[in-house]
């Protein structure tokens, strides 16, 4: 993975820059000892590492603004960091960059149940947003699997999704407003407790911009009343095609499950060996969850079962209790851990039209043989967001490179069939160089032009999202 050559002039001025940053932050909020900055050398994409120049941990919007003013004056790149759970390398530093971590910005600023909103500082973790409102019967819908650790700031930067977005949408559909610090330190307010922007939808633009347009310090989020209950049904099939057809038929029937999860045979076998959830040994398995009162759930599950039966399932297990639900979810929830037991893995995130599911799974199987690397598929089938897990051995020379090439081929296939490179993880550094397979030069250029407007000096997370060659002149200027 190529990263820009660090600017020697910045490295030389480290002491001066650190002093200036210390002058606007409280004691201990500037981490600059090389031993300590190593904690920030990577995010959850651990294959790539580089300690930053220093790390700042501001405690208020005003402090973030002061930091940005200094970095702007000093022309120092700034890499924003939420909780560092990015799987795409979104928070990967360069040696000449300041990591701006929002971990100390974790207060709840306002909860308003009558208007169904919560305003939080952006370093607050996803799950603790729900934690702040669940006693009143509310929850925050987007639920990335890292929700225990990941921060709202990162969720906004990557427009994170989760298992339940088939019904509730992703971050952008649940974000109502932000307080954002611009690259030059100016503080702007966009949106709020009211719906939709008056002018251009800048909020929609900022969400998913991977920390390249500004630093979000506060967010107004939509909260929803918790449904009365939820229960899944598990259905096993003897082919991926049939499972895919069943997903289509359920969606077409007008029932909107809150989640439709899909696992293929390699993944089923791995999780069975690991968690022993009692899954059938079959080619493909669906877990379909619906919400409502007990009677409403029974009604919906009955309709789903009726559809599933027309596809001759090899197994059909309807949950009738919390205990049975937990057992059905156990294997799915252990899937990543189970695959990790077997070997190192790389988790991909391409999205495809649901109708292309059988073709894409078949092609992945063929490529797996060609590359000599095993792959398991576990993903959100309702919206076509795939998560192929490619197994490789990080200690075996050449395996990582082979795995990356395999991954790139899968993502190109996703684009080929009408999908995209990333559904919820973001581009980061990981898929930066694949952007040209989805967008032509004109399509990319207009995106670069958008960054020019927000960050003319290209200091915010500059080496991400776009192929390095395409941003070189802008970063150098």
């Amino acid at each position: 993975m190529q990263m820009p050559t660090p600017n020697a002039a910045i490295l030389d001025r480290k002491d001066q820059i650190v002093k200036r940053l210390q002058s606007v932050l409280s004691d201990g909020a500037v981490v600059h000892d090389p031993i300590q900055t190593r904690a920030y050398e990577c995010d959850a994409l651990t294959a790539y590492k580089c300690p930053p120049l220093c790390v700042v941990l501001p405690s208020s919007t005003a402090e973030v603004s002061a930091v940005m003013r200094i970095c702007h004056e000093e022309s120092v790149p700034v890499v924003p960091r939420g909780a560092g759970t990015s799987l795409a390398g979104g928070a990967l530093p360069t040696a000449d960059s300041v990591i701006l971590g929002v971990a100390r910005l974790n207060d709840v600023l306002e909860t308003d149940y009558a208007n169904r909103i919560i305003r939080v500082q952006s370093g607050r973790t996803n799950l603790s947003v729900t934690g702040a409102v669940e006693e009143e019967g509310f929850f925050y819908a987007p639920d990335p699997s890292s929700q225990l650790a990941c921060a709202i700031a990162g969720n906004i930067a990557m427009n994170s999704g989760g298992a339940h977005c088939l019904k509730y949408g992703v971050t952008t559909n649940n974000l109502m407003g932000v307080t954002m610090v611009m690259a030059d330190g100016e503080v702007v307010e966009i949106g709020g407790a009211h719906l939709d922007a008056g002018g251009l939808d800048l909020l929609g633009l900022i969400c998913g911009s991977e920390g390249q347009l500004g630093i979000v310090t506060e967010a107004t989020l939509r909260i929803l009343a918790k449904p009365e209950g939820a229960r899944p049904v598990l259905v096993g099939f003897d082919s991926n095609e049939v499972a895919g057809a069943c997903v289509s038929d359920i969606i077409k029937s007008g029932i909107l499950p809150v989640a439709i999860e899909f696992m293929d045979r390699p993944c089923i076998r791995a999780t069975e060996a690991f968690a022993g959830a009692g899954y059938p040994d079959c080619e493909a398995l669906l877990i379909i969850e619906v919400e409502g009162s007990d009677a409403e759930i029974d009604d919906q599950l009955a309709r789903i079962v009726k559809i599933a039966r027309t596809h001759n399932p090899v197994e059909l297990r309807e949950s009738t209790s919390a205990e049975e639900s937990a057992k059905i979810w156990l294997g799915r929830k252990s899937a990543f851990g189970a695959m990790g037991q077997i070997n190192d893995y790389m988790c991909l995130d391409g999205t495809i039209p649901v109708s292309e599911l059988p073709l894409v799974l078949r092609r992945i199987g063929e490529m797996s043989k060609d590359y000599g690397l095993d792959v398991g598929n576990v993903f959100h089938a309702g919206d076509g967001n795939m998560h192929p897990l490619i197994l490789f051995d990080a200690n075996k020379p050449g395996d990582l490179e082979k795995c990356e090439a395999f991954g790139a081929d899968i993502l190109k296939l996703c684009v080929e069939v009408g999908g995209c490179l990333t559904g919820e993880h973001g581009v980061g550094v990981e898929k930066r160089d694949l952007m040209v397979s989805q967008y032509n030069q004109t399509d990319l250029e207009i995106q670069l032009a958008v960054k020019d407007v927000f960050d003319p000096a290209w200091l915010l997370n500059p080496a991400k999202v776009f192929p390095l060659a395409s941003t070189e002149t802008r970063r150098a200027s």
Partner: protein, 374 residues
């Protein structure tokens, strides 16, 4: 000249030597009047892809909305964001196009629960002010590849580019619907009722007060709607009766199209505020003798005032500067629209970003100049 292809449209923009007035069906004709040559997308028609099993539809921008709705209905599906028919309210003619719906982010009562047009638009193709053909997003429901220009284009009223094709997420038409109705509540009480209903687990898809009636909508499977209606009546709301079927649907299409204001004169504002601020805002505007409809749980206020002077613009926007929100002048005489900022004025740093983006997308400043302000 009727343009029938994206390439022709791009060529026309390249060849333009002055301002262009971008038109779809011309049914949502609001904004400051644009003095320019008409550029219409009406000739770019046709649904290019429809996969009911993937909840996805792709159509060229000039495709009539009615054609899309008919096609979807045949498969038991619909555009869930409920775009309104503004013809009666605005006195416009013609047929609304899907491009116009997206360019104006036209969203109805269900916005409060399922989202706006911007939440259902998955991808766009458009021609920018230099005649470049661009695309963003795609046709899948989850897509975070690069910047989300789909949202930026949705609701940009043709000021950043001319849409040529849009892909949309569609949803199933529910088995049934019902509306819980209560007569004669004050605006404050109505908004409190709506908040209680929207804050319940009973999946409310509309909450409004129109013609003195507070209305709470439920949609879904028959048994489920009946259960939730009863649960709301028993435990959440007081004095609400159930209206079903066509009568229920009529209430919401009237609200969606702002029918109560259609036959009456005066200027009409569309104001978005925090729901609980709606009633107080209307009370404070008493000097304008306003006629109000509350949608979105109180957060969307349709306000009819006399079309005199600035049509209340200063008073309304002064109030909003304290409580937050924005007001758009939806209907007024051309004279009023020429003198009053139709779209809500932006704070300086936001206005600078808007201007910066427009300068990148349309460096010559020829796309609907003046429509959304300077």
């Amino acid at each position: 000249m009727t343009l029938t292809t994206e390439a022709d449209l791009a060529e026309a923009i390249v060849a333009a030597n002055g301002p262009l007035r971008i038109q779809g069906g011309g049914t949502r004709d609001i904004g400051a009047p644009v003095d320019g040559a008409e550029l219409s997308t009406r000739g770019l028609t046709g649904v290019t892809l429809y996969e009911p099993g993937a909840l996805t539809l792709v159509a060229r921008a000039g495709t009539p909305l009615s054609e899309i709705e008919t096609l979807l209905a045949a498969e038991g599906q619909r555009l869930a964001f409920e775009p309104g028919d503004m013809r009666a309210l605005l006195g416009t003619k013609g047929a609304s196009t899907i491009g116009g719906v997206i360019a104006t982010n036209a969203s109805g009562p269900r916005r409060i629960q399922v989202g706006a047009a911007r939440d259902f638009c998955l991808g766009v193709r458009f021609v920018d002010g230099q005649g470049q053909v661009l695309k963003n997003g795609g046709r899948v429901m989850k897509n975070v590849t690069g910047y989300d220009l789909v949202k930026l284009m949705t609701g940009s009223w043709g000021t950043l580019g001319v849409l040529t094709e849009v892909s949309l997420k569609v949803l199933a038409i529910p088995e049934t619907e019902a509306t819980l109705v209560c007569e004669g509540q004050s605006a404050e009480t109505a908004v409190t009722s709506m908040a209680a209903a929207l804050g319940s687990p009973f999946d409310v898809t509309g909450a409004a007060q129109m013609n003195g009636q507070t209305m709470i909508r439920l949609e879904g499977l028959e048994q489920s709607v009946a259960y939730r209606a009863k649960a709301l009546q028993d435990g959440v709301l007081n004095g609400f009766d159930v209206v079903e079927g066509a009568a229920s649907a009529a209430l919401w299409s009237d609200l969606r199209d702002v029918t109560p204001f259609a036959g009456k004169d005066g200027a009409v504002w569309r104001i978005s505020v925090k729901p609980s601020d709606g009633p107080a805002l209307v009370r404070e505007l008493g000097a304008l003798s306003p006629d109000a409809i509350f949608d979105w749980g109180g957060g969307l206020v349709w306000l009819r005032v006399a079309d005199e002077g600035d049509a209340g613009a200063k008073m309304i926007r002064d109030d909003l500067s304290h409580i937050g929100g924005h007001a758009t002048l939806i209907r007024a005489s051309a004279a009023t629209r020429a003198s009053v900022p139709v779209f809500h004025p932006e704070h300086a740093p936001i206005a600078a970003l808007t201007q910066g983006l427009r300068a990148k997308f349309d460096p010559r400043g020829i796309l609907n100049p003046g429509l959304m302000g300077a």
